[in-house]
C-alpha cells in the first residue's frame, strides 16, 4: 500500500512555547482591562471621552471584520447598522422606555434590518457587494432626514439623559471585551471555518458540504447587532444624534479604514488599527484647522494605495519582536493539540456495503444547455455500487459538465439524476455533498489561505456526521498522511505545488466521506510514478471502503489498470459504454479520438455490439 510512509509528524515546538506566554497574555489582558475600567474614576473627562470613542470604534471595526476579514465580503455599509442602532435606541429612550428595553429594541430592530437587506445584498459578490452595501448609506440618510415624524429630520433626536459618560464607558468596555472574545470564539468553532471556506471559494465550500446561505446571513446579522450596540452606546453618551453624524459618508468608512490599515482578518489587526488611527485622528482634530475631511480622505487613499493588506502584514513587522506577535494570522494560533495516534494508511472511513446489482447513481436524459450550445445531450446511464468507471472523450465533450450536473454546480436543463434512489433535482450543492458525492476539480481549487490540515478538516466538520473543529483537525491528519502531505501539514494550500494541490484535492474529496467520488483529470501532468500512486489510491478506496468512482482521464494506460467499464462522450452525447478493451476498438470511438484514418486501420472483428445508452 502506497499510503504507508515513514513521515513522522513532529509536534511543532510552538504550542509549548505558547502555553507559558498564553498565561502571561491573559494576565496582561486582564490588567489592561482593569486599568481601562479604572479610567473614568481617575482620568479626566477629555481622556475618558477619547478612550470611549476608541472602544466604540473597536466594536465597529471588529464586527465589520467578521464579515470582511473572515468571510471576505467588504461591507461598506456597516455604519448603517450603527446608525439604525443609534436611532432605534434614541427613539425608544425618548419614548420613555427603560434603558435596557431601549437597548434591546435597538439591537433587535437592527438585526431584523440586517436580515432583510441580506437577501438582495448576498446576490452580489466582490466589488458589487461593496457598492451595494455602500448605497445603503445614502438610503438611510434620506430616510433619517425625511421620516420626520419618527426621526425628527435634520434637527436630530435629543435624548432625555444627563451626564452618563461613566456608565456608557463601562458598558462600552464590557462590549469591547465581549467583541474580542467573540472573535476568538468565531475562530474556534465550525461557524468560523464556514466563513473561511466562503472567503476562499464559495462554490467549493458548498461542494464540501457547507451550507453557505445561512452562514452568510448569520454573520451579517451578528455584525449588525454589535454595530447597533456601538451606535446605541454612542448615542447615549452624546445624548444627541442627527443624520449626518450616523450616516455621513466621511464618518462611515472610518472603521473600515482602521481595520485595513493594520490588517484585516488578523486577531489583533482591528485593535491595533483602531488605536493608531483614532489617536492620529484626535491629533489632527486638535492641531489642524479645516480640511479635516480632505486629510482623512488622503489617509484613506494612502492606506489603500500602499498597504491594503495592512501594515502588520509587511515584512519588516515580522522582525520586530513585539509587533511580530501581533501580526500572527489566526491559523498560526492553531497549535497541534494531540500527537498523531495511529501511524497507518487507514482512513477514518466506514466500509460501505456494496451490492453490484444495485445502481448507486442513475442519470435519466440529463441535458445541459448553455444558450444554443448543448454541452450534455440527453445522457442516460447507470452506475452500480462499487464500480470504477472511466469517463473519457475528447476535450469539450462534456465530461466535466456532466460532473457539474451531478454535484449541482450546474442545474441540468432537463432530465433527472437519481442518487441511491433519491432524486437530486431539488437538492442544493451542500446537501448533495452530504448525501455522499465528493469531487475534485480539474484545475485544483484548494482553500488557498488555509493550511493543508484545515482544508481537509472542513469537509469533516460539515459532513453528515459533523465533527468539532478540534476533532476534525485531528482526524484530518490521517487523510493528510494518506495523501503523503504530512510534511506540508501546516503549510498554506496556495504554497503547494500542482501535484501537491491535486493530492490535497483528492484527500479533501475523501474527507467528504463520499459514496460516489468524482475524480476530474487528477493524473494529468503527473509523472508515471505519481500516476501509478493515484491508480492505487483509487483502487484502494473502492476495495477497502466500497466507494464508487467515476474518473475522468485521458491516460488510457492508467484507466486500464483499474476501471471496470468506460463511458465515452462525444460532443455531449454518449457514444460508447463497455469494457475498455472493447471500447478502444469501437469505430466511433477511434474516429473521435484519433481521426478517420485510425478507424480505417482498425481490426475488423473488433466492432462489436456495444451498449450505447443506458438500459
Amino acid at each position: 500500500m502506497s499510503g504507508a510512509n515513514e513521515y513522522t509528524v513532529r509536534a511543532p515546538s510552538v504550542p509549548r512555547m505558547w502555553s507559558g506566554s498564553k498565561m502571561a497574555g491573559r494576565l496582561l489582558g486582564t490588567a489592561v482591562i482593569v486599568a481601562l475600567a479604572a479610567m473614568p474614576f481617575v482620568g479626566n473627562a477629555y481622556t475618558t471621552t477619547f478612550i470611549f470613542s476608541v472602544l466604540i470604534a473597536y466594536i465597529l471595526a471588529q464586527s465589520w471584520d467578521w464579515v470582511a476579514g473572515e468571510m471576505g465580503y467588504v461591507n461598506l455599509g456597516h455604519y448603517c447598522f450603527y446608525g439604525i442602532g443609534a436611532y432605534g435606541f434614541a427613539i425608544a429612550l425618548t419614548g420613555h422606555w427603560p434603558f435596557v428595553v431601549a437597548l434591546g429594541f435597538a439591537v433587535v430592530v437592527t438585526g431584523l434590518v440586517a436580515l432583510f437587506v441580506s437577501v438582495p445584498l448576498f446576490r452580489l459578490h466582490g466589488d458589487y457587494f461593496a457598492f451595494g452595501t455602500l448605497a445603503l448609506l445614502p438610503l438611510m440618510e434620506v430616510l433619517a432626514y425625511n421620516l420626520t415624524p419618527i426621526t425628527n429630520g435634520a434637527d436630530g433626536v435629543v435624548l432625555p439623559v444627563a451626564q452618563v459618560l461613566k456608565p456608557a464607558y463601562l458598558l462600552a468596555l464590557a462590549a469591547c471585551v465581549i467583541t474580542f472574545l467573540a472573535t476568538l470564539r468565531i475562530n474556534r468553532v465550525r461557524f468560523g471555518y464556514a466563513l473561511k471556506s466562503i472567503r476562499n471559494d464559495e462554490q467549493v465550500a458548498e461542494t464540501v458540504g457547507v451550507r453557505i446561505g445561512p452562514v452568510k446571513r448569520k454573520v451579517l446579522v451578528l455584525s449588525a447587532v454589535f454595530g447597533a450596540l456601538a451606535g446605541a452606546l454612542q448615542a447615549w453618551q452624546m445624548s444627541y444624534i442627527d443624520p449626518a453624524t450616523v450616516f455621513g459618508l466621511n464618518v462611515a468608512l472610518v472603521p473600515v479604514a482602521m481595520v485595513l490599515f493594520a490588517g484585516s482578518g488578523l486577531r489583533w489587526g482591528p485593535l491595533v488599527g483602531v488605536v493608531v488611527l483614532a489617536s492620529m485622528q484626535q491629533w489632527l482634530l486638535v492641531s489642524v484647522q479645516g480640511y479635516q475631511a480632505a486629510l482623512y480622505g488622503l489617509t484613506i487613499l494612502l492606506i489603500g494605495r500602499f498597504m491594503p493588506g495592512g501594515f502588520l502584514r509587511a515584512k519588516w513587522v515580522r522582525r520586530v519582536p513585539l509587533l511580530s506577535s501581533l501580526a500572527r494570522e489566526h491559523h498560526e494560533y492553531n497549535g497541534e493539540s494531540a500527537p498523531l495516534t495511529r501511524s497507518t494508511a487507514d482512513l477514518p472511513l466506514k466500509r460501505l456495503p456494496v451490492d453490484r446489482q444495485k445502481p448507486l447513481i442513475e442519470l435519466q436524459d440529463v441535458r445541459m444547455q448553455f444558450g444554443g450550445n448543448v454541452a450534455v445531450n440527453d445522457i442516460s446511464l447507470k452506475i452500480m455500487q462499487g464500480e470504477i468507471i472511466g469517463l473519457v472523450g475528447p476535450n469539450g465533450s462534456g465530461k466535466t459538465t456532466l460532473f457539474n450536473c451531478i454535484s449541482r454546480v450546474y442545474t441540468p436543463t432537463a432530465g433527472r439524476v437519481m442518487f441511491a434512489g433519491q432524486d437530486l433535482s431539488q437538492l442544493g450543492r451542500d446537501q448533495i455533498a452530504r448525501l455522499g458525492v465528493g469531487r475534485t476539480y480539474q484545475i485544483p481549487r484548494p482553500f488557498g489561505d488555509l493550511t493543508v490540515q484545515e482544508n481537509i478538516a472542513i469537509p469533516l466538520m460539515f459532513g453528515d456526521d459533523p465533527l468539532s473543529p478540534r476533532d476534525a483537525l485531528r482526524e484530518a491528519r490521517a487523510f493528510v498522511e494518506y495523501a503523503e502531505l504530512s510534511p506540508r501539514l501546516l503549510a498554506r494550500a496556495d504554497a503547494l505545488s500542482v501535484q501537491e494541490k491535486k493530492a490535497l484535492e483528492f484527500a479533501r474529496a475523501l474527507a467528504c466521506k463520499p459514496r460516489l467520488l468524482l475524480v476530474d483529470e487528477v493524473a494529468s501532468g503527473l509523472t508515471p510514478a505519481e500516476v501509478k500512486r493515484f491508480v492505487e489510491h483509487i483502487r484502494h478506496v473502492r476495495d477497502r471502503y466500497g466507494i464508487t468512482v467515476i474518473w475522468v482521464e485521458h491516460i488510457f494506460s492508467a484507466l486500464q489498470q483499474v476501471v471496470d467499464r468506460v463511458i465515452v462522450l462525444e460532443q455531449g452525447s454518449l457514444i460508447a459504454d463497455g469494457a475498455l478493451s472493447d471500447v478502444v476498438k469501437d469505430e466511433r470511438v477511434l474516429r473521435t479520438y484519433l481521426g478517420t484514418a485510425a478507424a480505417a486501420h482498425a481490426p475488423q472483428p473488433a466492432i462489436g455490439p456495444l451498449a450505447s445508452g443506458a438500459a
Binding site: 446576490r123 458589487y128 451595494g132 455602500l134 445614502p138 480640511y291 480632505a294 487613499l301 494612502l302 494605495r305
Partner: protein, 290 residues
C-alpha cells in the same frame, strides 16, 4: 395637475436621465475594462460642474469652450491618476486589490469634495445661460434643453461609433470580455486600461457641462450620482450603451415624477430602492456583459 407641468417634468426627467446614462456609461466602460468601481466617478461630475460654472461666471467663457478645455484636462488627470494610484494595486492579491481600489477611490472622493467645497463654497451652482425659448402653440420648449438633448445624442453617437468602428473601441471590447486573451492577441492591455479610465472620466467632464446648463451642482452631490450610475449599470448591463440610456431615462423620469406627485426629498432614495428590488427580482441581471 396641469398637462404643462407634467410635460415639463417629463422633459426634465428625460434630460436628467440622459445625463445619468452618460455618467453611468463612463463608469461601466471603466468597470468593464479596468475592473475597478470608481467610487469617485460621480464626484468628477460635481467638481467639473463647479469648475464649469466658475469659468462661466468669473471669466465669461462659453459652455462649448469650457467643455473643450475640461475634457482634455480631465483625460490627462485621470490618465496620471490611474498610473500613479490604481495600476500598482493590480499586482496585489484579489482581496487587497479590491479593498485597495475601494479605499483609493473613496479617499479621492472625500478629498475632491472637501477641497472643492473649501475653495469654491459648498453652495449650489449652475450656468445661468438663458436662450430664447421656442413655442409650439401652448407648449414652450427651452432652447437650453434642446441644446442639452443635442449634446447627449451627439455624445452617445460618438461613443457608439468609437466603440464599434475604431481600433480603440475593438480593443476596449476585447479587454472587457477577456483581458488575458486580448493581451495574447497583442492588445497592450495596460495602455488600454489607462486610456479607458481617462476616456471614461473625460466623458464625465462633458456631461458635467451639459448638466450645469440645466441642473444645479454642489461639491457633495457626487456620491449620490455614483449610486445612480451604479443602479443604471445593474439594470442596463456593463458596457451596454442602449441599455444605459433606457435605464437612465427611466430613472430620471421616475425621480421627476416622485418629485411631482410625492415629495422631491424622496427622489434620491429611488435609485437605491430600485437597485435592491432589481437584485431581488432579477438576480441574474447583474454583471451582464456587452
Amino acid at each position: 395637475m396641469s398637462f404643462d407641468v407634467l410635460l415639463q417634468v417629463l422633459i426634465g426627467g428625460v434630460l436628467l436621465g440622459g445625463l445619468y446614462a452618460l455618467v453611468a456609461f463612463g463608469l461601466s466602460l471603466i468597470y468593464g475594462v479596468v475592473r475597478i468601481l470608481n467610487f469617485a466617478h460621480g464626484t468628477l461630475l460635481a467638481v467639473s460642474g463647479v469648475l464649469a460654472s466658475l469659468a462661466f461666471s468669473a471669466w465669461g467663457m462659453q459652455p462649448l469652450l469650457i467643455a473643450a478645455l475640461l475634457a482634455p484636462l480631465m483625460f490627462v488627470c485621470a490618465y496620471g491618476y490611474y498610473h500613479l494610484l490604481l495600476r500598482p494595486l493590480t499586482k496585489r492579491n484579489h482581496f487587497e486589490s479590491t479593498v485597495g481600489t475601494v479605499l483609493v477611490t473613496v479617499g479621492t472622493l472625500m478629498m475632491l469634495s472637501d477641497i472643492t467645497a473649501k475653495a469654491a463654497g459648498a453652495t449650489q451652482r449652475n450656468i445661468p445661460l438663458r436662450l430664447p425659448a421656442i413655442e409650439f402653440g401652448e407648449i414652450v420648449i427651452s432652447t437650453t434643453q434642446l441644446l442639452i438633448l443635442a449634446g447627449i445624442v451627439l455624445l452617445t453617437v460618438v461613443m457608439h461609433l468609437l466603440l464599434k468602428r475604431t481600433w480603440f473601441g475593438r480593443a476596449v471590447r476585447a479587454v472587457t470580455q477577456d483581458a488575458t486573451g486580448a493581451q495574447i492577441c497583442g492588445v497592450q492591455s495596460t495602455r488600454i486600461k489607462a486610456l479607458t479610465f481617462a476616456f471614461g472620466s473625460a466623458t464625465v467632464a462633458i456631461a458635467a457641462v451639459l448638466y450645469v446648463l440645466s441642473f444645479p451642482v454642489d461639491p457633495y452631490m457626487g456620491f449620490g450620482l455614483t449610486v445612480k450610475a451604479f443602479t443604471i449599470i445593474v439594470v442596463g448591463g456593463i458596457g451596454n450603451l442602449p441599455g444605459a440610456l433606457a435605464a437612465g431615462v427611466f430613472l430620471g423620469v421616475a425621480e421627476g415624477l416622485t418629485g411631482l406627485y410625492w415629495k422631491p426629498e424622496w427622489a434620491p432614495a429611488i435609485s437605491v430602492v430600485a437597485m435592491l428590488l432589481i437584485l431581488v427580482v432579477f438576480p441574474k441581471r447583474v454583471g451582464a456583459r456587452i
